[in-house]
């Protein structure tokens, strides 16, 4: 089982001496990201309440930070970094493509139904 682990993260900018060290390093990174999310979630700074492409800036930040976390969990905890690129693509691209499709459906149909509620003749508020 002489597996060679890839020990560098951040595009090779941060190198670890052993796999165990890398694990702790990634834990620290994930903890910092979670802490940022929680602090932003509690205080909700007014600066970030503005809208950007149809969503609050704050929500964009949350989603981007979540994707960053997901990346490190998959790449380092699930050892995706050490798998062949074919396996990596098979898993990640399939999921990504179908999730994009789901997001499209959600925005398209959710927006339509909301507009019916708002502008249609249906009375919903009594």
């Amino acid at each position: 089982m002489a597996h060679a682990h890839k020990l560098a993260i951040f595009q090779g900018r941060l190198k670890f001496k052993s796999n165990t060290q890398k694990i702790w390093g990634v834990l620290i990174l994930l903890t910092i990201i979670t802490a940022i999310e929680v602090v932003l979630g509690i205080y909700k700074p007014d600066v970030l309440e503005g809208s950007f492409i149809g969503m609050k800036v704050l929500n964009w930040i949350f989603i981007v930070l979540t994707l960053v976390k997901a990346y490190y969990i998959t790449w380092d905890f699930m050892h995706m970094r050490d798998e062949t690129s074919a396996l990596r693509r098979m898993v990640v691209w399939t999921a990504l493509f179908l999730v994009c499709y789901l997001v499209f459906i959600l925005l398209q149909e959710g927006g339509y139904v909301e507009s019916v509620f708002k502008r249609g003749y249906l009375k919903t508020d009594f």
Partner: protein
């Protein structure tokens, strides 16, 4: 039988990737494929949640106001407990990946200990989730549901440090308890096939009398104003709304009613966190099985700890899903 084709004449001819292009064992690959399909199930749930939320974007409950409790502490601590749960799950992911690493070095003692810690982490998480469910189901302030299924919540303005804020008031604190007009109908009261669920502990009249007696209690509706805060009605409006449209008192949340806002919020909460909690639970069970196999030396004899790696993949996946649930349920 000469004409039966028994081989294709293509033996030994593989394409560029050779016989194992992914350089991964069968078991690990299948675990990955399972994870992809399970990830899509969860994406489907979260997309459905997003869809419903979009649909009711003008009146969706604010998660910060719903999940404010921490065990053993009284007071208002939004997000803190969920953040703790997230941290526990990430931590147990770390011990899991350390177990996998120790397995690569064939270090049985370390694998045993790290697996043990992982199981403990998983149990703490499932326990926390059970507690969170209990708190959510029990509810805290109570509300009144209108004929149309909307919610009226109660509160009053309080001035603290020169700043006026709207503070929620529990229905139990102001309702004037008289003789309840109804008792719960059970199947032995009348016809055997007619019975009903638990009825609210307060009647509408008791709440309305309470509001009339307490001059400063106001009704807060579900509708979000342009600042994203819930609309608070004037005193006259409050009474009018309550008397004209109030139908029943709602305490806590279940699949039919929800004192925090849209019943769909509770439905999705139970369904998504429940499905995730079930994954964590089954993960703990599988971890325990693997843990005993490690102790018994099964993998030592087999010569590799790949089984730990496979269950590890599943465990990390559960953590991964929680990261998304945390974002979309509690933060966004």
């Amino acid at each position: 039988m000469d004409s039966t084709v028994v081989n294709t004449g293509a033996e030994g001819q593989t394409w560029d990737g050779g016989n194992d292009p992914l350089k991964s064992s069968y078991g690990k690959m299948m675990m990955w494929f399972f994870i992809v399909s399970d990830a899509l199930t969860f994406s489907g749930f979260l997309a459905a949640y997003g869809f419903s939320r979009y649909k009711f974007s003008g009146s969706w409950p604010i998660a910060d106001e719903v999940f404010t409790h921490v065990p053993f502490f009284h007071g208002n601590y939004p997000m803190i407990y969920v953040a703790f749960m997230t941290f526990i799950l990430i931590m147990s992911s770390v011990t899991m990946v350390l177990a996998v690493d120790a397995g690569h070095h064939m270090n049985k003692t370390k694998v045993t200990w790290y697996m043990f810690l992982t199981i403990i982490g998983g149990m703490i998480f499932v326990g926390s989730q059970a507690w969170e469910w209990k708190t959510f189901i029990k509810g805290d302030y109570g509300a009144v549901q209108t004929q149309g299924g909307n919610l009226l919540q109660f509160g009053q303005y309080v001035t603290k440090d020169g700043e006026q804020t709207f503070k929620r008031v529990s229905v139990h604190d102001f309702a004037i308890v008289g003789n309840s007009e109804r008792v719960q109908q059970q199947s032995n009261d009348g016809v055997w096939f007619l019975s009903e669920g638990t009825i609210p502990s307060l009647s509408m009249d008791e709440v309305i009398n309470g509001i009339k007696a307490n001059e400063n209690i106001l009704v807060r509706t579900e509708i979000l104003d342009e600042n994203g805060a819930k609309t608070i009605l004037s005193r006259d409006e409050s009474l009018k709304q309550l008397q004209a449209n109030g139908r029943t008192v709602v305490e806590g949340a279940n699949l039919h009613v929800n004192e925090y806002g849209s019943p769909l919020f509770a439905d999705f909460f139970f369904f998504i966190t429940g499905f995730h909690g079930f994954h964590v639970f089954s993960g703990v069970v599988i971890n325990i099985i693997i843990f005993f196999n490690v102790i018994l030396g099964t993998y030592e004899r087999r010569g590799n700890y790949e089984m730990v790696e496979k269950v590890g993949l599943y465990w990390h996946f559960v953590d991964l899903v929680w990261v998304f649930v945390f974002t979309f349920f509690y933060l966004v």
